[in-house]
């Protein structure tokens, strides 16, 4: 897969950072404004997919990248399960228990464990979507060569 023209490359270079920041904002403010882990993770993955599409697959070492995203998603899912299991031992013996102090409604640091779940779900979704995309790109390169 070759890269696109210089104009597309420049615009992508300017835009992808903004898209990435917007995704992070959606993830971290998931318990205050519409959005959350799934939406923000998909936006972050979209920023990376835009970069790969514009610059072509020669720029990156795709195999290494795929290994890293795969590891990231596995670790994020594992952390989610561990956090949920921690609810069993801290508090009222309920899976997915909200055991941290809830704070004031509307503040950025509030709602107990919900922001932490949001962050890790965001990591998981972004890494999973990127892994699927990279898997397809690598397959195409292998077939073409």
């Amino acid at each position: 897969m070759n890269g696109m023209t210089q104009i597309v490359k420049k615009v992508t270079q300017l835009m992808s950072g903004l898209i990435f920041m917007y995704g992070l904002y959606i993830i971290t403010h998931g318990h205050l404004t519409p959005g959350g882990g799934f939406a923000g993770g998909a936006i972050v993955a979209g920023g990376f997919i835009l970069l790969i599409l514009a610059y072509g697959s020669k720029v990156l070492n795709l195999r290494k990248e795929e290994t890293q995203t795969s590891i990231t998603e596995s670790v994020a899912l594992l952390v989610i399960v561990m956090l949920a299991l921690a609810g069993l031992f801290l508090g009222t013996y309920v899976f997915f228990n909200n055991y941290l102090p809830q704070g004031e409604i509307g503040q950025l640091i509030s709602a107990g464990v919900i922001p932490i779940y949001n962050i890790f779900i965001g990591m998981e979704v972004a890494a999973a979507l990127l892994t699927i995309f990279l898997g397809l790109v690598i397959y195409k390169e292998e077939v073409a060569s």
Partner: protein, 179 residues
């Protein structure tokens, strides 16, 4: 609101039907995009911005991947003849549609009018959700506190999808590393 929704759903049905019968696969994809983005507008009208954000991003990424697949393979649809048993097919589908419509009209009677939900569970969620979870966004509160299992299931589905793609999509065998 109901008329707008009906118009949108009619538009989406037309898009889906066109996507089924289009000669060119690329225009079928565009017609399928009508369905997805129409769903975004429907979610926005039903005051569900959370779902609208997810839907618009996922729809865009899916469209990109599908367009890449179509551009790299053929734009022609596979020719298939479905002349045999044409009458039997039509009669079967009409019978099934009539049966489903009858069941639907039967099941819809005990439901509340459109827009009302007076179930005890959702009343508790909407009234006590903010206090009991501490999250100002009710949707996130429900997703990660009351319905944590659902979220775990969704994350597991994504994980399994990525695992399947990484495992199956492989033209050359993976190099035998020292085991």
């Amino acid at each position: 609101m109901e008329t707008l929704l009906s118009i949108l759903i009619g538009f989406m049905i037309i898009g889906a039907l066109y996507a089924l019968h289009a000669k060119d696969l690329l225009s079928a994809l565009i017609a399928q995009g009508i369905v997805g983005y129409g769903l975004v507008i429907a979610f926005l009208n039903l005051r569900a911005p959370d779902l609208a954000i997810v839907q618009i991003v996922v729809e865009t990424i899916t469209l990109i991947v599908m367009v890449a697949v179509v551009l790299n393979s053929s734009r022609e649809e596979v020719k298939e003849s479905w002349n045999r048993n044409k009458i039997l097919n039509i009669v079967t589908s009409l019978v099934i549609v009539g049966f489903m419509a009858y069941i639907f009209a039967f099941m819809i009677q005990p439901l509340q009018p459109f827009g009302d939900h007076t179930m005890r569970m959702s009343q508790y969620y909407t009234q006590m959700g903010a206090e009991s979870t501490g999250a100002a966004n009710l949707v996130t509160g429900v997703l990660f506190d009351f319905r944590g299992y659902d979220t775990l299931g969704e994350a597991t589905i994504l994980f399994t999808a990525a695992l399947g793609v990484v495992t199956i999509l492989r033209a050359k065998p993976k190099k035998e590393t020292e085991s």
